[in-house]
């Protein structure tokens, strides 16, 4: 009880301190109001991206030196051989890192191969044209995924052990998580997939739900991570759902895609319709997970953009009215974001379950006739 109080207190402190810390950096090198706007935009863009070091805050001290709070992370590159080094060598993109005779530079959170001077050449659209080595670095987002994974593992294996010890009676944190687990089972998995096959998909649904939810919640902390608002992460999640859906697909699932009308029509009639219908159905296989990945990405990114823009307003207004107003607004949006964090996790899980339900459906072929008979009898 005491520890939870302490951690709650710490969370509150961190939460209220977050904007203050950001403020120092943002107002560090102010030009005019136009410069502030530009800076805020860049700051938001930077925040939405992954980064190679775990920075919590940075500010300019009295002597004009930029001070960074945080710690470097390992950089892993594949560039004619594996190259591993600390991201401290980039000095937050200010210097060129020399590793095994190659020079690398961080530019807008991406690593480019450069010459010793660190020159970056641009095309006419101001995009760098330098070679990009394959980057498997343990970035901030990877660290957060690891942390979340460990947290989930610790929480739920503890919960499982507790069940073993207490004859299936939930204790401690299990009391909080059990209703959620049961909700996913009884209101997401069973209605969508069916009593017979749901248990096969339960581990994936539960893992997806808690993984997304926890990462969404981490995104709301002042740690400044945006894992679920990253297109690569949501793509990976959607790809897993896509693969599971199609590899567990039953004969009826594929029949529904490739022969949607079944015995309802002679073959020459089907031929004309199927030229249009079957490509649409096949496209649907890909559109479903694509919608999943875009939905999660867009919702989380939008949430972060709105929240950070509102915080940024404080530095644009710089007045007695604007400050409290944007603070109040960003506080309200934060509360909504807490809801959205849960909602998006729920929607992702729900739709995954729905797709799994399509994939594992099995029509009772005698069933259709049973439905017809009463109608005939009524005639």
């Amino acid at each position: 009880m005491r520890t939870s109080l302490v951690s709650n207190f710490l969370a509150v402190i961190l939460f209220s301190l977050g904007p203050v810390l950001f403020a120092k950096e943002s107002s560090g090198e102010t030009g005019g109001p136009q410069g502030t706007k530009e800076e805020i935009r860049e700051y938001i863009a930077h925040h939405l991206q992954d980064s190679h070091d775990f920075s919590i805050a940075s500010y300019t001290d009295a002597s004009g030196e930029v001070v960074h709070w945080g710690f470097p992370l390992p950089v892993i590159l594949w560039d004619n051989g594996l190259k591993v080094f600390s991201s401290a060598r980039f000095h937050h993109g200010e210097t060129v890192a020399e590793v095994g005779g190659n020079y690398y530079r961080l530019y807008h959170s991406k690593i480019y191969k450069t010459d010793a001077g660190g020159t970056i050449r641009y095309d006419e659209d101001q995009h760098p044209v330098n070679q990009k080595p394959l980057d498997f670095s343990i970035t901030k987002n990877v660290v957060m995924m690891l942390v979340t994974g460990l947290l989930l593992f610790w929480l739920f294996t503890g919960m499982a052990r507790n069940y073993g010890k207490n004859n299936g009676i939930p204790m401690g944190i299990g009391k909080f998580f059990e209703p959620i687990v049961l909700y996913i089972r009884d209101d997401i998995a069973i209605p969508n997939i069916g009593e017979k096959k749901y248990s096969r998909y339960m581990p994936l649904l539960l893992t997806v739900f808690f993984f997304i939810w926890f990462l969404n919640m981490f995104g709301l902390t002042p740690l400044g991570v945006n894992v679920t608002g990253n297109i690569a992460v949501t793509t990976a999640l959607a790809l897993i759902v896509f693969l599971v859906t199609n590899f567990t697909g039953t004969r009826d699932y594929w029949k529904h895609i490739l022969d949607p009308l079944g015995d309802g029509m002679p073959w020459f009639g089907k031929l004309i319709i199927y030229i249009i219908l079957v490509p649409i159905e096949i496209l649907g296989i890909f559109i479903k997970p694509f919608a999943l990945l875009i939905r999660l990405y867009a919702n989380m990114t939008a949430g972060h953009v709105v929240l950070m823009s509102l915080i940024g307003l404080i530095f644009i207004f710089k007045s007695w009215v604007g400050g409290p107003l944007s603070f109040g607004l960003s506080f309200a949006i934060s509360l909504i974001e807490v809801l959205v964090a849960l909602l998006q996790a729920y929607i992702f899980t729900m739709l995954s379950a729905l797709y799994f339900g399509f994939a594992s459906e099995e029509h009772d072929h005698g069933h259709g006739h049973e439905h017809e008979e009463p109608e005939l009898a009524n005639l």
């Binding site: 991206q49 992954d50 892993i76 995009h127 394959l134 980057d135 498997f136 670095s137 343990i138 970035t139 987002n141 990877v142 995924m145 690891l146 994974g149 989930l152 593992f153 739920f156 294996t157 919960m159 499982a160 052990r161 069940y163 073993g164 004859n167 299936g168 009676i169 059990e178 687990v181 049961l182 089972r185 248990s199 339960m202 581990p203 994936l204 539960l206 893992t207 993984f211 990253n230 297109i231 690569a232 992460v233 793509t235 990976a236 999640l237 790809l239 897993i240």
Partner: protein, 166 residues
């Protein structure tokens, strides 16, 4: 769209797939399966406990119905027994009374008959005795009256007189 593709990081994608699949497999083995099994077992337990309670309730109802029926039966039996006993008692009393009456009547009748016989015998005896007493008394009177000659003569005279007078 171009920005999205530009933002897409192969490295992060790779790590996400690896970490997620690893997490999924680990959680499946060490968390979800034991948790879901425990929950299922508990629900099964609750369901069977409820069913057992329902059964027990039915059993209880059956038992109480049985005992009620037995009680009813016992009560009826007792009624029947009591009624029978009462009937037997009444009959016995009636029989005894009738028998006693008959016996009494018979005894009285016999007594009357024997009294009658005794009476007759006694009367006959008394008659005989009176006759013999009378003869004896007459004998003694005659003896006393005819002891001397005067009296004998007197008596003869008297008898002769009697004859003459008539």
């Amino acid at each position: 769209m171009e920005k999205l593709i530009n933002e897409f990081s192969i490295g992060l994608f790779f790590w996400q797939i690896v970490l997620f699949v690893l997490l999924l497999l680990l959680l499946r083995k060490f968390a979800w399966k034991p948790i879901l099994r425990a929950v299922n077992e508990r629900e099964q337990g609750i369901r069977s406990a409820l069913a057992a309670a329902e059964d027990a309730k039915k059993e209880m109802q059956n038992v109480s119905a049985d005992s009620e029926r037995l009680l009813q039966q016992a009560r009826a039996e007792r009624e029947a027994l009591l009624k029978e006993a009462r009937e037997i008692k009444d009959k016995m009393i009636a029989d005894a009374r009738a028998q006693a009456q008959a016996e009494g009547d018979k005894i009285v009748r016999q007594a009357q008959e024997s009294i009658e016989g005794e009476k007759k015998a006694a009367i006959a005896d008394i008659k005989n005795q009176v006759a013999s007493f009378s003869v004896e008394i007459a004998e003694k009177v005659l003896q006393a009256q005819l002891e001397n000659k005067d009296r004998q003569l007197k008596l003869v005279d008297q008898l002769v007189d009697d004859i003459k007078l008539r």
